[in-house]
């Protein structure tokens, strides 16, 4: 038994960051955390699995914090985080990646199930949302789209990115983004026609006459 108490204070981690860098980092973190819900949704749609989405978002932030110095204030932080997340996703899941254009209905089914399972664990997953999602025709129509179309529609219509930002994220020219959106919406439209008439979205082009 040793009489001397071993004072093993963990060595103070010497910060290599200057005060200016620390301020910059803090600013970045405050801005970055605002996008966590958007990133989580994107990750959820990519992975179809809450646990993978959780990991993916966590890794994204870890990477972002590491490279915060390459982030310029005033540029689009959200787009930058999405890009990191997408790259992470590709690196991590490429091996098991679905072929673009192929719909894995089992995966979609699993997605619904795993979301449902996690409902009791996470009070934050809105129960109303979940119930609607299970039967949501729009959601299913979206998910049945070929990956490259679904992706641009998500980024554009749901996340509100500009074409330039999307082109950068999917690493394709803006012309490609344009045509994918065009074709994607066209496919979606045909799938949604029934939905639209059922729920009162007017699919006719003539407005009903006043009289």
């Amino acid at each position: 038994m040793s009489s001397s108490s071993d004072n093993k204070n963990a060595p103070e981690k010497k910060s290599i960051l200057s005060e200016k860098d620390k301020i910059k980092q803090k600013e970045f973190q405050e801005e970055a955390i605002e996008h966590i819900n958007a990133l989580y949704n994107y990750a959820l749609h990519l992975t179809m699995n809450p646990s993978d989405a959780h990991d993916l978002v966590q890794e994204t932030y870890l990477k972002a914090y590491k490279f915060f110095s390459s982030f310029e204030k005033g540029t689009n932080c959200k787009a930058w985080l999405f890009k990191i997340l997408k790259n992470n996703y590709i690196n991590k899941f490429r091996k098991n990646a679905r072929e673009p254009g192929k719909v894995d209905y089992d995966l979609i089914k699993d997605f619904y199930h795993s979301i449902k399972d996690s409902q009791s664990e996470s009070e934050d997953l809105n129960a109303g949302y979940l119930r609607s999602l299970m039967h949501d025709e729009v959601y299913q129509a979206m998910n049945s789209l070929p990956e490259e179309f679904k992706e641009v529609i998500q980024l554009c219509d749901i996340e509100g990115f500009t074409y330039e930002e999307i082109a950068n994220m999917v690493e394709s020219p803006i012309g490609t983004v344009r045509s994918r959106l065009y074709r994607g919406r066209k496919i979606l439209r045909s799938k949604l026609t029934e939905f639209a008439s059922k729920y009162g979205y007017n699919t006719e082009n003539e407005e009903p006459g006043e009289q």
């Binding site: 996470s122 729009v138 439209r189």
Partner: protein, 75 residues
């Protein structure tokens, strides 16, 4: 502008991503082409449905907590 050219601009028109010159040409074409006009309206509606109907999840509190902790450990 013909229909093929208009179709190439269709999505950008829906998303207000056209240049002024493109916008002008596109609108001119729609005025004389009911087919493209209808297609444009339909594409707008599709975007509207997606925006309105796709459900959004909130990141689980455990995830937010872990990210915030990650923040602190990096400062």
């Amino acid at each position: 502008m013909n229909c093929i050219q208009a179709q190439a601009l269709m999505s950008a028109a829906v998303d207000n991503e056209l240049s002024l010159k493109e916008q002008e040409g596109f609108e001119k074409h729609l005025l004389k082409c009911p087919t493209c006009f209808n297609e444009f309206k339909e594409a707008q509606k599709t975007k509207h449905i997606i925006r309105e109907k796709i459900t959004r999840f909130t990141a689980p509190p455990s995830l937010v907590k872990s990210i915030l902790e990650l923040c602190d450990s990096h400062i």
